[in-house]
Subunit: 332 residues, 2 copies
C-alpha cells in the first residue's frame, strides 16, 4: 500500500498545484492599470455577464462586437489631431515643388507656422490642405508616406512618438475583450487609410477592423500596373451620425460595447447602448492636466459637451483619466 499511497500523494499534490495555478490565472487582474472602483467594475461585470452562458444576457462570440474611437480614446489628440499634424508636415515636405504656396493661403500660414492663420482659412482652407496632402496620388503611395511619417512623428507637447502616446488602460480593455472572443474595431473620424498602416502594430487591430473617413478612390491601369488613385473628394465622413452608418457598412452587426471621448461618438454610443440585451457605453473624460490634458466642453479637438450631458440618463460610464487610471501611458 505504501507505493500506492505515495503515488496518490504525488497525484494529489500535482492536482493541488494545477488547481492553484488555474485559480491564480483565473484571478489575474485583466486591467492592472485601472484603479479599483465602479468604472473598472463596470467593464469586468459587463464582460463576465455577456460571456456567461447561464446568464440571460449571454451573447454568442460572433455577436460580441466592440467599437473604439481613436483620437482621444486610444491615443492623444492634443494639441491637435495627429492626422492634421501629418497634413501640415506634408505641406512643408511638398513645398519645394510648390513655390506658389509661399503667397497662397492656407499654405502660406502653414509654412509660416501660423496656426491662427490656418484656423482663419476655415473649412475651405482645411479642405485645400487635405486635398493637397491626401489626394492626387495612388493609395499605395499615400500608405507609404503615412507609414514613413508615423515612424518618427512625435507629439510636440509630450515629446513621445505618437504611436507611444497611447493609453495603456485602453490597450488592456482591447486585450481583455479579445481574450473574451470579442471582435474589436476602430471606428474613427480619422482617415481609414491614414490609420491602417500602424493600427496592427500599435493596438493589435488589423486593417480589416479599421473603419474611418475616406476619400473617393478610382481604379486605374497604369504602365506600372493597376492603382487606386485618391481623389480630392470625400467618399464618407465617419463621424457623429456617420459612425453607425460606417459600422453597419463595414461590420454588418450592431456593437454591444462602444468607447469614445467626444460628441463625435454620441451616435455610436447611442446606436450601441439602445440595442437589445446588455450593452456597455463608455466615455474617456480628459480630466488629468498633470499626466495628460484636461479638456471637454470648450476644446477645439475632441469637444465633449452633449455626450457628457446625456451620459447619466443613457447610462454611459464616464472614465475619469485622473481617478480611474493608475497609469496613463505604456512603459517605454
Amino acid at each position: 500500500m505504501r507505493r500506492l499511497s505515495l503515488a496518490s500523494a504525488v497525484a494529489t499534490s500535482l492536482f493541488g498545484a494545477v488547481a492553484l495555478v488555474s485559480a491564480a490565472l483565473a484571478q489575474e487582474d485583466p486591467l492592472p492599470s485601472w484603479n479599483d472602483g465602479a468604472t473598472k467594475e463596470a467593464i469586468i461585470k459587463f464582460v463576465e455577464t455577456v460571456t456567461d452562458e447561464s446568464n440571460p444576457d449571454y451573447v454568442p462570440p460572433a455577436e460580441r462586437i466592440a467599437t473604439f474611437d481613436n483620437d482621444g480614446t486610444l491615443w492623444v489628440e492634443q494639441p491637435m489631431y495627429v492626422q492634421l499634424a501629418f497634413a501640415l508636415d506634408e505641406v512643408r515636405r511638398m513645398a519645394p515643388d510648390h513655390p506658389e504656396w509661399k503667397e497662397k493661403e492656407p499654405f502660406k500660414s502653414v509654412l509660416a507656422g501660423d496656426l491662427e492663420g490656418i484656423a482663419a482659412s476655415g473649412k475651405k482652407g482645411l479642405a485645400e490642405i487635405m486635398g493637397a496632402t491626401h489626394a492626387g496620388m495612388s493609395n499605395a503611395e499615400f500608405t507609404r508616406t503615412a507609414s514613413d511619417w508615423i515612424t518618427t512623428a512625435k507629439n510636440p507637447k509630450t515629446g513621445r512618438l505618437n504611436t507611444e502616446d497611447i493609453y495603456q488602460p485602453m490597450l488592456e480593455v482591447i486585450d481583455y475583450l479579445r481574450a473574451n472572443e470579442f471582435d474589436v474595431y476602430i471606428v474613427s473620424g480619422g482617415g481609414i487609410e491614414f490609420m491602417r498602416p500602424w493600427t496592427e502594430t500599435t493596438y493589435g487591430i488589423p486593417p480589416e477592423n479599421v473603419v474611418g473617413s475616406s476619400a473617393k478612390m478610382k481604379y486605374e491601369l497604369t504602365d506600372d500596373g493597376p492603382v487606386l488613385m485618391r481623389e480630392a473628394e470625400i467618399a464618407f465622413v465617419d463621424d457623429g451620425p456617420g459612425k453607425p452608418v460606417g459600422i453597419q457598412s463595414h461590420i454588418g452587426k450592431r456593437p454591444i460595447a462602444a468607447f469614445g471621448n467626444s460628441d463625435g461618438d454620441y451616435q455610436m454610443l447611442e446606436w450601441t447602448t439602445k440595442g437589445p440585451g446588455r450593452t456597455l457605453g463608455m466615455i474617456v473624460h480628459h480630466d488629468d492636466a498633470e499626466r495628460e490634458f484636461a479638456y471637454d466642453r470648450d476644446s477645439h479637438f475632441g469637444k465633449l459637451d452633449k455626450a457628457m450631458d446625456a451620459a447619466p440618463a443613457e447610462h454611459w460610464v464616464l472614465i475619469s483619466m485622473k481617478d480611474d487610471w493608475a497609469r496613463v501611458f505604456p512603459e517605454q
Copy 2:
C-alpha cells in the same frame, strides 16, 4: 520478455494505425466535386505553394485574402439575378398599398409579368423599382423582408430554393481555402444588405466578410429608438472598377486569389493577379446547358466577353462547368 514484446507489438500497431489515419487525412481530396485535371490542379498547387513556409512564394496567413463574386460564381444568376426577382416580388407584395402602380410604368409591367415591358423602361425604370423596394424603410426592416423572402424563394427554371442553387465545387474551394487559413470574402455587384442575411448559413461567410453595392443610409432617432434609414440614392456600386475600391475599403489588403464569372469581375481579377507574388485568378465559365445554363458573350446577366478574351494573356484559369465539375449542386 514476452510481455514486453507484446506491449511493443501493440505500440507498433497502434503507431501504424495512427500513421495510416494521418496519411489518409492528409491525402483526402479537398475538392471531391472537381474532376481531376489542370483546373483542379491549379487550385491545389496554388494553395500548397502559398502555404509552404519553405517556398519563396509563401504568404503568411494574415495576407491570405480570397475574394469571390456571388451571382454566377457561387449561385445561379439565370434566368435573372436573384435580387431582381426579389425586387419584382416586392413590387407585387407592396402593390395593394400603391393602386397608382396599375397604370404607372415600370410597375404596370411588373404587375403584368411583362419582362419586355420592364426591360423597355431601361435604367430609369430599374432605378424606380429598386427605389420602391430597397429604400424608404429602415435597414433592419429591409433585412427582415429579405430574410423572410429568401427562405422560400425558388429559381423558376431549376425549381430549387435559391439558397440551394449554389455550386458545390465552389463551396469546396471556400472550405479548402479557409482550412488553409485564408480569409474569404464575397465581393459582389449585388446589394451588401441583401446578401448578408443568408451568406453565413449558405456559404459560411459572415456579414463582415461581405462586400457589395450599397444604398445611402441615414442615422435617425425615432420614438422606437435609433434606426438606419435606407435612402433612394446609391452610395457605392461594387462592380467592375468598383470592386478593387470596395475591396480596399472593406479589407484594406490586396487579395491573392479571386474568383469571378463575368466582365464585372475583370478589374477584381486584374487587381488581384497583377499584385506581387504568386496569385490565382479564376473564371467560372457557364458552358453546361444540361446541368445548369450555357451563356457568355451575349447574356443579359453575367456577360462574359472581355474577361474571356483577356484570360490567356492574364493567366486567368477558365473553369469549365461541363468538364471540370463532377457535380454542380449540393446533395439535397
